[in-house]
């Protein structure tokens, strides 16, 4: 009986893989990027490279010079006299709120400004220079209000209220704002009895960690071009990770002007780096809104580098208070983790960063007694928002520093401590759901071996000390429970394929990975597949390219589209040529038959034209696959007081990282001798692209701890909004040795078992450095960044 069912299965499920060793033909191979030559030849077009013709208008912004004030009066008369100026637009022209998860912003500041650099008005002109001259002539009278820059101060009793109307703001049901305070959202996660846990502990450690703000620094700045044409349709070209989310936000915000979703079209060419900074909607709303005021003219808004720093999203700062209890045997008995987020002037996206952190701030440890408070606090600094790691990069510094210190306190090796406490498949997560299959243990072991954990590294130079560290990371995509992906797959006359998706190529290699997935199923070589960047008129829906979820979500949609196309092919061949479809399979761009070895039909002969039958008529027509994916098991609704009951996270990608760091004892100068990072990607669709994420993410992460630092004046003005004063790494800062390690424990609902990896590689870096500095020099630094200067000063203080 069993044999029969096996045999049936063999017959009815044609193997997807036709590789020589029974493995996959192209999934798992490091093929060249399909956008490689386009980018290396200079042909790749980014938003600023598109031409909009001589009818194009340019906008320049009038920005707030103060961090908190009422707008008393705006005088635009002198600006309108500047030659070339067409129009001046202010908040009164667009009294509409917008926002991704909470509607707390206006297109232009309406009655008050809340951060230095906020857009107050726009001057539209025939040239960029005329627009700038006009913007300089707009006079704004402000009545300054008290400011608050520190999140902990902002929740004190008499703090100035930044959003007095907070209680009226529409928001998603999983946010809990506190009216008449600066608390925009408070995520509480409670599990077990933490007080009992602390009483049972043999050792308890309590401390506070400080993480400042950071900037994404994509080399391409934000830009948007809007065109409201004479027929009343709005097209917006943006440099964005989120074309469909933008379309939705534009349509919702501008609905009072008679705009409907069908009339809004968002086109996103290649993006010159995103890292979360080009997710959601920030300055793009200005391009959409201004277009409505100059019907028939495209109008361009292009940020300069300073605006890029000040008025998109910044990574939020956080003050993390951690209390942990452990038994002598190393078992963690209780954890209290309170995160006070400096979320900035608007939190329409940033509050979800706070939410994500509040669900997972245990890091990948099994802790039975947990109390997490993740508090989103308005301050008079630029809006906070998503940045690679989405809250996990931020809280990882404190928790992984603390875990190492906890191990030291009870005299246990920090890696052994992690081995005893790391989370396993099936363990209960902080909010009650269960942990997915993962290769965390394998990651720990491989990284420990790679950095020869246990043997003390030394320097030949007596002035230098060497330290090692090993930390863990995890992260889940932070997304609404019903975030969907979809794909169309179209065959062409020659058997080549165009795939339409709205997942965004932001450098990670999405287009290539999607081509590999389709290639695997349809046997069409990757080189014969094009995958296009999004145009919401042409490409089907994708929520956004964020959260390291598109390999998984969009990948599932593409896989389904390819399977749909394959089924159509089988159906057609059965109908036209009377071959049982269960005996058919695809190989080398042909349909073949298990029972008739001589039969083969090339795709090019029928995928558009159809199959000609004996009576000379044709059957079939263009083969077009369609795929849709939505996680149907997720729910964001849990008990507001405990977080228990929902299933807000679809799965976690986990891993471990290790560092060998050389430190100069006198100057504090640090050199990364070796870094190893193991990440469980489920299945590596393209190992080379994953190694690219590891190497790139690590350097971006090390930058936040070793070099970068946003400095604000006491009046809330960013003092270093440029690359001379905000130093991002150059080729001279590359670690001596980088070892990416790919672990593959399949994700049951992932395409070929894959899960995402883009953000994770940045997350562990800050705590790696903090722990290695302590291993080398015996000093514990609890605030980021950990610059050479800070190390030297800490050492000299003893």
């Amino acid at each position: 009986m069993q044999k029969l069912s096996q045999k049936l299965e063999e017959l009815t499920v044609p193997p997807i893989s036709v590789g020589p060793a029974g493995g996959h033909r192209v999934v798992g191979k490091s093929v060249e990027r399909i956008d490689g030559w386009e980018k290396v030849s200079g042909a790749a077009k980014f938003l600023e490279d598109l031409d909009f013709g001589p009818n194009l208008l340019y906008a320049a912004l009038v920005e707030s010079p103060v961090a908190h004030a009422k707008i008393k009066k705006i005088d635009v008369r002198d600006a309108l006299k500047v030659p070339g100026v067409v129009k001046v637009v202010t908040g009164k022209d667009f009294p509409y709120k917008f926002g991704l998860y909470m509607k707390d912003r206006y297109v232009f500041a309406y009655d008050r400004v809340r951060f230095v650099g906020e857009q107050v008005a726009a001057v539209i002109a025939w040239s960029p220079k005329a627009a700038l001259r006009g913007a300089a002539k707009v006079k704004v009278d402000y009545e300054e209000l008290p400011i608050v820059l520190d999140p902990v101060r902002a929740i004190e009793k008499n703090a100035t209220l930044i959003h007095p109307d907070l209680g009226n703001y529409p928001h998603v049901p999983w946010f809990f704002p506190k009216a008449d305070t600066n608390i925009a959202h408070w995520r509480k996660t409670r599990k077990g009895d933490w007080e009992k846990g602390f009483r049972e502990a043999d050792a308890v450690l309590e401390d506070t960690y400080f993480v400042p703000r950071y900037a994404h620094c994509a080399i391409e700045v934000h830009a948007a071009v809007g065109l409201y044409d004479m027929s009343g349709r709005l097209t917006v070209w943006t440099a964005s990770q989120s074309p469909f989310t933008q379309r939705n936000v534009f349509a919702e915000a501008l609905a009072p002007l008679g705009i409907s979703h069908k009339d809004v079209r968002v086109i996103t060419p290649y993006v010159g780096g995103g890292f979360g900074g080009k997710a959601g909607v920030s300055m793009e709303i200005i391009g959409a809104a201004l277009a409505m005021t100059v019907k028939g003219h495209p109008v361009k808004v292009l940020w300069n580098r300073a605006q890029e720093f000040c008025n998109t999203y910044q990574r939020q700062g956080v003050v993390a208070k951690i209390k942990m209890g452990v038994k002598k045997n190393g078992k963690i008995t209780a954890l209290e983790h309170s995160l006070y987020w400096d979320a900035g002037a608007y939190v329409e996206y940033g509050a979800n960063v706070v939410n994500a952190a509040g669900l997972s701030a245990t890091n990948p440890y099994r802790v039975d007694n947990v109390k997490i408070d993740s508090i989103c606090i308005y301050t008079n600094l630029p809006p906070g928002g998503p940045y690679r790691g989405f809250g996990y990069s931020e809280f990882s510094f404190g928790i992984e520093s603390h875990v190492t210190r906890m191990a030291q306190k009870i005299g246990l090796d920090p890696v052994e401590f992690r081995r005893r406490n790391h989370i396993k498949e099936g363990d209960t997560l902080p909010y009650g759901a269960h942990m997915n299959p993962n290769g965390l243990r394998e990651s720990i072991d491989k990284v420990a071996a790679e950095i020869m954990w246990g043997s003390k590294a030394k320097s030949d130079d007596p002035k230098k000390a060497v330290g090692k560290s090993l930390v863990l990371f995890w992260k889940s995509p932070a997304m609404p429970p019903n975030a969907a992906s979809s794909a169309f797959l179209k065959f062409n006359e020659d058997g080549s394929i165009n795939i339409l998706i709205s997942g965004m190529e932001i450098g990670q290699g999405l287009l290539t990975a999607m081509a590999q997935i389709a290639s695997e199923i349809l046997s069409v070589p990757v080189a014969k597949i094009r995958v296009e960047t999004p145009d919401t008129d042409r490409n089907p829906y994708e929520w956004q390219t964020v959260g390291s979820h598109v390999t998984w979500g969009c990948g599932n949609a593409v896989k389904k589209a390819a399977l749909d196309a394959r089924d159509q092919i089988f159906e057609l061949v059965q109908r036209a040529l009377h071959l049982e479809k269960d005996t058919l399979y695809l190989e080398d761009e042909r349909v073949k038959c298990r029972t008739k070895p001589d039969f083969e039909l090339s795709f090019a002969s029928f995928v558009i034209a159809g199959i000609q039958t004996e009576d000379h008529t044709f059957k079939g027509g263009p083969i077009m696959g369609r795929g849709v994916f939505m996680p149907e098991f997720a729910s964001a609704i849990g008990d507001p007081e405990t977080g228990q009951g929902g299933h807000p996270n679809v799965h976690y990608t986990t891993g471990a990282a290790g560092l060998i760091l050389e430190v100069d004892k006198e100057t504090g100068k640090m050199k990364i001798r070796k870094v190893a990072l193991a990440v469980d990607v489920g299945k590596a669709i393209n190992p080379d692209l994953i190694r690219g994420q590891v190497v790139g993410g690590l350097l971006q992460g090390f930058a936040t701890v070793l070099y970068e630092d946003m400095r604000y004046s006491e009046k809330g003005k960013l003092l270093n909004p440029n690359f001379s004063d905000y130093k991002i790494p150059t080729s001279l800062d590359v670690p001596e040795e980088i070892v990416p390690i790919i672990v593959e424990v399949p994700q049951p609902d992932g395409p070929f078992g894959a899960r995402g990896v883009g953000e994770h590689t940045m997350i562990p870096t800050a705590s790696l450095v903090a722990n290695a500095v302590e291993d080398a020099l015996g000093v514990r630094i609890k605030s980021m960044p950990i610059t050479a200067e800070k190390v030297a000063l800490t050492v000299s203080k003893g």
Binding site: S30, E32, R33, D35, G36, W37, E38, K39, V40, S41, G42, A44, K45, F46, E48, D49, D51, K129, H216, C217, A218, I219, E220, V221, Y270, V271, G272, G273, G274, F275, L302, N304, R305, I506, G507, Q508, G509, D688, L689, G692, V695, G696, G697, L698, L699, Q700, N722, F723, S724, I728, P729, T730, S731, L732, V734, I738
Partner: protein
Amino acid sequence: MKNISIQLKLNGVRRTLEVEPSDVLLDVLRDKLGVKSPKVGCDRGDCGSCTVFMNGKTVRSCLVLAVEADGADVVTLEGISKNGPTRLQKEFVKRNSFQCGFCAPGVILSAEEALKKHPRASDEEIKEHIAGNLCRCTGYKPILDAIKTVASGKASK
């Protein structure tokens, strides 16, 4: 102010045009001459995205006034692969060296210059030479590895 007529050789072709005295070369290349590979990244010489060859040497075209380029020989990324991809370009593609690709035009010209100056460049010389071109995606390593491969003569021709 009055416009000024300038003449330059762009990717081997002589071009004549009118510019304002305050126009910078980068904007003129992109907006008046239609060459889009030099990118706008910072407008102050920090990022290297606007790198072009001017009279055989790389310059940051955002720091050059268009009038300074009068009579100059300017070569952009479009100009270096007219006769097919260079060895470096082939190696960059093969190694998936770039991710978003925005910095690529500037990095590639700096890398070509490095190899022109030092055909057998050492690792340190290569790092030093592209240190003025910022890349936020790749961590530089896959870029450096490709240049090293070509410098060591191991790249496929």
